[in-house]
């Protein structure tokens, strides 16, 4: 029965989204109050019915209703409850329903908040309606999660064990809130182009959505990176895998967008550029969806053989991006910004931020798509791995981080870079000291390490200097904290990346019980391996005694798990962190009466994710300040323009 309710709810949602699209776009005209009312109420209706469909699917997973094919293929009665629920989006069909659910939530909020005026909201809802319509059509015709099996099987096939992890329970919804959240700024931009109201009020209306999406995307990527680190068993945190790149590209553009929108809100500058970034950000979300959902990544040829889903998404993508860009090309030239500013000004730093971040996004885009294109066109196969990005992406970020501290210190329109440099002198000093210390103390002596730490110290110290120089810390606006936290976060992440990359110690030994191996000042002793029974797996669990300076300081338990239902094995790493350094153990196979043990000591590894959390906190501070300042009437802003 739940299957039928869900199916019906999806069909009704499809109909509502069509009405919402038409009514919303018609509501962009001046005297169309009725259309606008229809658009708002259908947005709420869409949310209700998509929620109903999503709820039915969760219910089917929780009750292990194997008459539904999606549940049969991705669940199992023995799975713990939390993984039955997260299994809903651990597969193609369910994750597409989650996608539309998040889209519907954003549309509901847009309809409820009515930011930026009725006409703008209505047109934006119209665009949201079009997107929802396309995705619901895609779900119903190529990815229906409610298809039935007759007769229903007695037991399900289970969920990929690597996905049965608490970090991963949160990661996909977080990422989707980010990905799909960019649809709101996309829709507002398209709406601004349609109504011709691309003014400061529009930028103010779209900004909370941009910020919220950016925060979620930041946390989603951070969570994904952390998950990969502790689950995959070899201590890496970023692999430049196409699927990771698919999330990184929208993040880079969204970061550029947040900065460019600052200027647009403040002085109306860079209006058309902000519009374009909003369109590009969500376009990259769509491209990411295409890359991951079409199967084109695993093989160009697999895609060509079973193209139904891929072609549908590709069609959707080309239509959405193409029409948004066409709209932009048609309407944007009418937007005269004509602002005046000097070379040394906040505007200039924002433009440099934008060009560097866009070039970084373009680099990831080229590096991700080039091998696919080359294979499709010539049959030539190449790999684009970390060394490529180290040579192309990293230099852009070095320049970006060098410039970051100047942004908050330069005034609008006309700043004084000499004074900014004078104020930032203590940060320069800290950076120099960091470089010298790192070069002198850490072995091997490395100029690259010294440079990386100087850069990190420069951004972090400059963020602190910036706050202190602004005066009474309690009286500062939230925006000051926002930029300081986010910029310091960038430095913290850089420290983490530099620390683990330069100084990670690795050990790989075959240990018999009682034998020891040394690693970076620790001694590890294998005391034994026992079999342990989990809820839906069996594990070999090692007892590893950790010694430091001859003193036992801990016992760690890396595991190898075997999931019989899924017929797969995973490594469950053991990590002992001091907050500054990780001791990381992964258990390998049994061989010749011993066990293979992989051990890593990764200095500063936790900083990688601390930095991500700092950036997200910066976003939250900005969002908080924004929502509190909402009381300022729009007319006042229009007058200021």
């Amino acid at each position: 029965m739940t299957g039928e309710i869900g199916q019906l709810a999806l069909c009704l949602a499809l109909a509502l989204s069509a009405v919402m699209a038409v009514a919303g776009l018609l509501g962009a005209r001046a005297n169309a109050g009725q259309s606008r009312a229809v658009a708002s109420s259908t947005a709420m209706g869409l949310l209700v019915f998509v929620a109903l469909a999503f709820g039915s699917l969760i219910y089917a997973f929780v009750t292990s209703d194997f008459s539904i094919a999606t549940v049969y293929q991705n669940s199992h009665t023995l799975k713990p409850l939390i993984y039955k629920i997260t299994g809903v989006w651990g597969n193609h069909e369910g994750s597409m329903v989650l996608w539309v659910f998040v889209l519907a939530i954003y549309s509901g909020i847009m309809a409820f908040a009515q930011r930026g005026g009725e006409r703008l909201t209505s047109a934006a809802l119209g665009v949201q309606g079009l997107l929802a319509f396309a995705f619901l059509l895609f779900i119903l015709f190529t990815s229906n999660p409610f298809l039935r099996l007759d007769p229903p099987p007695f037991e399900g096939l289970g969920l990929n064990p690597l996905l049965q992890d608490p970090g991963l329970a949160m990661h996909p919804p977080m990422l989707y809130v980010g990905y799909v959240g960019l649809s709101a700024s996309f829709s507002y931009s398209a709406a601004a182009l349609i109504t011709g109201e691309a003014n400061a009020a529009w930028a103010r209306a779209a900004r909370p959505f941009m910020l919220f999406a950016w925060i979620a995307l930041t946390l989603g990527i951070t969570l994904g990176s952390w998950w990969a680190y502790y689950v995959l068993g070899w201590g890496g945190f970023w692999f430049w895998d196409p699927v990771e790149n698919a999330a990184l590209m929208p993040w880079l553009i969204a970061t550029a967008l947040l900065h460019s929108a600052l200027a647009t809100e403040r002085t109306g500058a860079f209006r058309s550029w902000t519009l374009l970034l909003a369109i590009l950000g969500f376009s990259l979300s769509l491209i990411g969806t295409f890359l991951v959902r079409s199967g084109v990544l695993s093989s160009v040829h697999a895609f060509a053989n079973d193209p139904e889903r891929g072609v549908f998404i590709l069609g959707m993508l080309v239509t959405a991006i193409g029409s948004a860009l066409a709209l932009f090309a048609w309407r944007a030239p009418q937007l005269q910004s004509g602002t005046a500013f000097d070379i040394a000004s906040k505007e200039t730093t924002l433009l440099l931020n934008n060009v560097l971040l866009s070039a970084a996004a373009a680099t990831v885009f080229i590096g991700t798509l080039y091998p696919l294109l080359l294979d499709a066109l010539t049959g030539e196969k190449i790999s684009v791995g970390p060394p490529y990005f180290a040579l192309t992406f990293a230099p852009l970020f070095v320049v970006l981080i060098l410039l970051v501290p100047f942004g908050p210190r330069l005034g609008w329109r006309k700043g004084d870079w000499r004074e900014a440099l004078l104020v930032l002198r203590p940060a320069l000093g800290v950076a120099a000291v960091a470089a010298v210390l790192v070069f002198a103390i850490a072995t091997p002596h490395s100029l690259v390490a010294a440079g990386a730490f100087a850069l990190a110290a420069w951004t972090i110290a400059a963020a602190i200097v910036d706050l202190v120089r602004r005066g009474d810390l309690r009286a500062l606006p939230a925006s000051a904290y926002a930029s300081a936290l986010a910029h310091a976060g960038l430095g913290i992440t850089l420290m983490g990346i530099a620390g683990t990359t330069m100084w990670r110690s690795e050990g790989l030994e075959l240990l018999k019980p009682g034998q020891t191996m040394p690693i970076a000042g620790y001694t590890l002793r294998l005391d034994g391996v026992e079999m342990v029974q989990g809820p839906n797996y069996e594990a070999e669990r090692a007892d590893i005694a950790v010694f430091s300076n001859g003193r036992a300081i801990a016992v760690m338990h890396p595991e190898k798990r075997d999931y019989p239902a899924e017929g797969q094995a995973t490594t469950d790493t053991a990590i002992r962190t001091t907050g500054f350094s990780d001791l990381y153990l992964a258990l390998g196979d049994q061989r010749d009466g011993g066990w293979v043990l992989r051990a890593y000591v990764s200095p500063l590894a936790p900083f990688i994710w601390f930095g991500g959390v700092f950036m997200a906190l910066g976003g939250l501070a900005s969002l908080w300040g924004r929502l509190r300042r909402r009381a300022v009437p729009l007319e006042q802003l229009a007058a200021a323009e």
């Binding site: 597969n91 690597l162 996905l163 991963l168 996909p172 989603g220 990969a228 995959l232 070899w234 890496g236 692999f239 895998d241 196409p242 699927v243 698919a246 999330a247 500058a269 990411g288 991951v292 990544l297 695993s298 602002t339 005046a340 500013f341 000097d342 060009v355 560097l356 866009s358 070039a359 373009a362 680099t363 080229i366 590096g367 080039y370 080359l374 030539e380 196969k381 190449i382 790999s383 684009v384 791995g385 970390p386 060394p387 490529y388 040579l391 192309t392 329109r413 006309k414 790989l508 030994e509 075959l510 017929g567 797969q568 094995a569 995973t570 490594t571 390998g588 196979d589 293979v596 992989r598």
Partner: protein, 136 residues
Amino acid sequence: MRRLLLAILLSLVSAMAFADTGPDKLADPALEARAVALQKQLRCLVCQGQSLDESNAPLAADLRRLIRARIAAGDSDEQVEHYLVARYGDFILMKPPLEPLTYLLWFGPLGVLLIGGAAVALVIARARMRLDPGDR
């Protein structure tokens, strides 16, 4: 980022289900360091995005042994790489070679940066002209 996962997963899962063949180190630490450095630059052919250094797949273990065998036989790093490229193609290199087919890959980012930089310079120059003469 179910997506992120799926791709990594599909590959890893297959890799993890197989045996970790464990250490087969060269006795000479200098040679072993060369082998490790090499296997970080080479790609596991059956996984997605992992280097030979990280992969647990049997083929990766075979190739790690092969690299050590060639190094022990006196091959230089380049010779080992050439040998592997001759057998498996450019696909095995994490760093794609610079050749006419990859010019766009290698110089594309620079092109984007130059075009973007030129556009920004133009915008700044025009914005500066609009300032009152006293402010310039």
